[in-house]
Amino acid sequence: MEPNWALARKRQTLIERARIVQTIRAFFIGRDFLEIETPHRIPANAPEEHIDAVASGDWFLQTSPELCMKRLLAAGYPRLFQICRCWREGERGRRHLPEYTMLEWYRAETDYHALMGDCETLLRQLVPAGKIVWQNQEFDLSQPWERLSVAEAFTRYSETTVEAALQNGSFDEVMALRIEPQLGRSRPTFLIEYPAACAGLARRKPGQPAVAERFELYIAGLELANAFSELTDPQEQRDRFEQSELSRRAAGKTPYPVAEKFLTELAVMTDSAGIALGIDRLAMLLTDSTSIDEVVAFTPEDL
């Protein structure tokens, strides 16, 4: 019996992955963020129409640690981060694993612009040379990163508009097939200002209520992170949860109980911003891997 070669050949990538995680941890600790662990198994996730949780007894495995992280923010912790496992039912592809590693960080007394700054500084720390090569293409991290609104992206890269796409239900398709492959082509792109309907936990932009302060970070067409200026109005949050929960139930999904403790404590949360970044996708980018399978020791199929 010889050693499992498929596993043995991942050595260099797994060493680089460990360096990435350790650098991230040092980055946030050095900036006075408190590292937190919250339960993986919870009574309910934030209801999302297109994200399915894995059931665990009467509860669920988390799809994101966001609700617990925000309860900590509301309790007065101003800077938090967590590196943890998340589970999403049925998500499996070249860029998706049903169990994956998420980095989330949160800042009080600020909005999502501060998080864009964090992303730039973090990536430059991870890549001191300022350039990455992925699939024979070079990406320059040292130049100012692009900030592109969703509306502009539709105008530039598709034949339709955001409004029309939302109306006829093709928003996600246009986004995934037309727009995403064009984002972050030579330098990273922050895709900003999502339609309010596509941002269940984000604050509406002051003076422009049709859009929410949500951004996604793209490099090489790869979606790396999703961020919000957090919605802090408990009534509006309750209404949006109800809306999403109705869509979930209409689609025949297991009902979630209302996240009452989160909604109650949200009333005392100050203006804050939070972000979730996929560690596996980041590792793909920094190890020149085409498939997420290459950056984890075991995929579900390997077990």
């Binding site: 070669w5 498929a6 398709e173």
Partner: protein
């Protein structure tokens, strides 16, 4: 009926009344958006290739194909010839129909042939096949790291990555589903 969750490479579906096989598959999902299932499909009758994207909620009819256990006999200018060992009936598949599967055929191998209207349109191989390495760089002394790899070619002309200790003349096991090296075979 299949749902989107069943879609994967190699699945055979009926589309517009004709059998198709998924030759490439990827799941994609824009941040918080709806899941999309990107398929490259081959029409198993005409051989034509095209892309199609499905959304969650869609369903598919399985292509009802006859499968027959047959033995691989030989290859000649007409193609790859297989025989039903019960009634000695023979079927010939073209190189194009076989695609990369042609690299994993060895004489007398038992395979399953897919048949549509009496015509062979595809093949299901055993999961593992043993093939001899015919080309590989010599093992560099001192290269003991278990994860190191190098290119090699096996007797059927198939090229793949193998561990650095695999040398010419050695028999190796290959997973026909992924096309990847599994282990050396003791002789």
């Amino acid at each position: 009926m299949y749902t989107c969750a069943d879609l994967k490479k190699g699945l055979k579906l009926l589309i517009d009344g004709e059998p198709h096989v998924i030759v490439q598959f990827d799941f994609t999902k824009p941040g918080k958006g709806q899941a999309l299932y990107k398929c490259k499909l081959r029409n198993m009758i005409t051989g034509s290739l095209f892309d199609r994207t499905y959304r969650s909620g869609e369903s598919f009819e399985p292509a009802a194909l006859e499968e027959r256990d047959m033995q691989f006999l030989y290859q000649d200018e007409s193609g790859y010839v297989f025989m039903d060992t019960k009634n000695y009936e023979q079927i010939t598949l073209s190189e194009e129909t076989l695609g990369d599967d042609k690299y994993f055929l060895i004489d007398n191998m038992q395979v399953s042939i897919l048949i549509y209207n009496g015509v062979g349109i595809g093949i299901t191989l055993p999961n593992f096949v043993n093939l001899r390495v015919t080309q590989a760089d010599p093992w560099v002394k001192g290269d003991t790291a278990a994860g190191n790899n190098k290119p090699a070619v096996v007797e059927t002309g198939y090229a793949l990555q193998v561990p650095s200790f695999v040398e010419e003349g050695i028999l190796i096991q290959i997973d026909t589903r992924t096309g990847q090296y599994v282990t050396r075979v003791k002789e």
